[in-house]
Symmetry: C2
Subunit: 405 residues, 2 copies
């Protein structure tokens, strides 16, 4: 057994990583699959919305001047000459003294320039007699939405990099866009190694433990926008691991065998078939993390311990997946300030990822004995980072907590 | 045309709605589909994790007493009797003076009680001679993770109602759970009505506008955990709308024709075939919103105007979908405090939903002329609610902004 040739700081490891990260090319997806995707080109309207002047209330389209002086005591008779519905306009031209019953959203008839709301009309007699009574005056333009009042032809509506919201899809649809041009999702291959592992769904027995990293890493990568390919567990065998890594993928995440022990095959494979740029990072957990390239693929070597795998994913692999997919590199976690109930110690020169509980602004570090226990990440509400230049925080310090939820 | 028989306050409408909301029954889904789903029963472990004492470092399993007094100046020879790997244990029993090379995660051999880390061992000669040299002392239990140190048999790990996180799937997998028992997703039928509408993907032309609500409402409902069934646009025809509403669904969302105009068929249909409990709400936009039941289905009648539809969805339909699916009723939006740059007015007796921009803590109301424009919800960063008891806020007031992202 030999040690890591040179342990990188987290900062150095991130600097290497960030230099590798370029947004993936665009692809077109149907609008109904575009929510949450990242816009790859600006959305510019080549139509006006609405494409015609329309009623913004139910009532009667009129020539505004025809209602002059109308009140409930001075009823002004108008001739009811037709109806206008959304999608079913009145085809004639309105003359002064005439009215067209109109519904919200319907095109304003030619000749008219205002809508008298239904509550200011006595239509009871009009239905049979062909005339109605205006009970109020409207001014020109009243209750009429002008062509282009929502969106004017040529307007840039959404910018590149936008995370598409539900209402964005509505706006895109309204200007006739049926497909969104978005950043392609990163394709991620999971290579979960370990002869001791049983696949998810198997009860652990004897010296065999059930894979926790596969389901966890798949869910993390999907959360960060990836399409995940996880064909199953891989034996601790150089050929099998190399084959697993040589997938049609943008990112390969290997879990297990990332250290410098006798069965830690993956780092050697990456070094001999590609570039092992980082191996060993000054952090806890996850110090046996590796990063490199294999052809066009970015490769992340994550420790088999699930907390280490989670932490290394959060620091490195997740960042890469988000950036390739056009998302913010930053953690997708909210942070909150809270006050430490107990001290957290951390040696200078090493970054620590400390799981904590947070309630009523009080931050309680979870006591972790030696090894990293996955259940600590489910009991925890989030984590606190102690930078490599810090010896930790005394009780009572206000710290940032990154929330898992 | 006639008015709303009685306009409900938002509070009254929510009171009726909340009385209808009961969580849906549970279903089992494969673990890899369970991220973000809501746990329907607690997760209790019926195994210990790990199921055996294991090494927490790479090194040599020993009887701790055998290393007493060892230093780099006082090398203590131990007999190298075998190897232990994860999944491939050493099958014998260790005697004092013996050592087994062991990797992190491997079962501790019978007879041994500590792991001497690799860096405190001179193994160079030992590889061939069958002996190694201990260069340090270890105490009993050192670098050994006890059976059950992560999870003890019988422990409740996750509670009902939990939104399953990636690491929760890891923990569930590690205790042998291959399927998660989660709250069934609400099934939502979209009934998008309007003779003026063209389906998404069609350019608007003439008096026809392209449907914005279908893509928007589908994305909103999926965001809130629903499975959406949107078979296509529905004509303003009583039979077609009724057939659309009589879907195999928990929730029916009708868009368009929700008011009291001549083509507003949906409220009458709900009233005659089921219960129209709410019709007309004292809010802007969305005042022509209706709610009721049709058999077991909750029915939401949303105005056709897209901003009104969004607002009514946010207040009512989304709340129902989240609650049926076991999620928090509250908005899935973060809120931030900010200072108004201009006043917002709102009449007493009506709740207002005002779109705003937020930058550097400054809250700028978007000036909305009359009708509600969907593009205002894409230009907006979020919205401010002005309660019905408020006349609004003067410039300089600190308000809560609910963020769309």
């Amino acid at each position: 057994m030999h040690g890591f040739s040179r342990r990188h700081t987290v900062e150095q490891a991130l600097a290497w990583l960030d230099a590798q990260l370029h947004q993936l090319p665009a692809e077109e997806v149907p609008l109904r699959e575009a929510a949450g995707r990242i816009l790859a080109t600006p959305v510019v309207s080549n139509v006006d919305v609405p494409g015609f002047d329309r009623a913004t209330m139910d009532g009667y389209a009129v020539v505004a001047d025809s209602t002059e002086g109308a009140t409930s005591y001075n009823r002004v008779a108008l001739k009811h000459v037709g109806d206008a519905m959304p999608g079913s306009p009145f085809h004639g031209t309105l003359a002064p003294g005439e009215a067209v019953r109109i519904m919200t959203g319907a095109p304003i008839p030619a000749g008219s320039n205002a809508v008298l709301p239904a509550e200011f009309v006595d239509a009871c007699s009009g239905e049979s007699s062909g005339s109605i009574a205006a009970l109020a005056t409207v001014s020109p333009g009243k209750n009429v939405g002008q062509r282009g009042e929502d969106i004017v032809h040529g307007t840039t509506l959404l910018d590149t990099g936008r995370v598409l919201r539900p209402q964005d899809l509505g706006v895109m649809s309204s200007i006739g866009i049926g497909h969104a041009r978005v950043v392609r999702r990163p394709r991620v291959r999971l290579v979960i190694t370990g002869n001791e592992l049983l696949p998810a769904g198997s009860p652990p027995h004897g010296v065999h433990i059930t894979d926790a990293n596969g389901p966890m890493l798949e869910a993390l990568a999907v959360r960060d926008g990836a399409v995940v390919d996880f064909p199953g567990l891989v034996r601790d065998d150089a050929d099998a691991i190399l084959t697993g890594m040589q997938a049609d993928a943008d990112v390969v995440i290997v879990s297990g065998g990332s250290s410098v022990g006798i069965e830690d095959l993956a780092p050697t494979l990456v070094a001999s078939h590609g570039e092992l740029a980082v191996h060993g990072v000054a952090m806890r957990p996850s110090s046996p993390t590796g990063m490199g390239r294999l052809g066009q693929r970015l490769v992340f070597l994550l420790p088999g311990n699930p907390v280490s795998a989670l932490c290394a994913y959060d620091f490195f692999a997740g960042r890469a997946i988000r950036a390739l997919g056009g998302r913010a590199k930053a953690w997708p976690y909210r942070s909150m300030r809270g006050t430490l109930t107990r001290k957290i110690s951390s040696p200078i020169g090493r970054l620590d990822y400390a799981r904590v509980r947070l309630s009523d602004g009080q931050v309680e570090p979870l006591s972790i004995s030696g090894a990293s226990l996955l259940s600590s990440t489910t009991r925890a509400d989030g984590f606190v980072i102690i930078d490599q230049d810090s010896e930790g925080f005394p009780a009572g310090t206000d710290v940032d907590v990154w929330l898992y939820e």
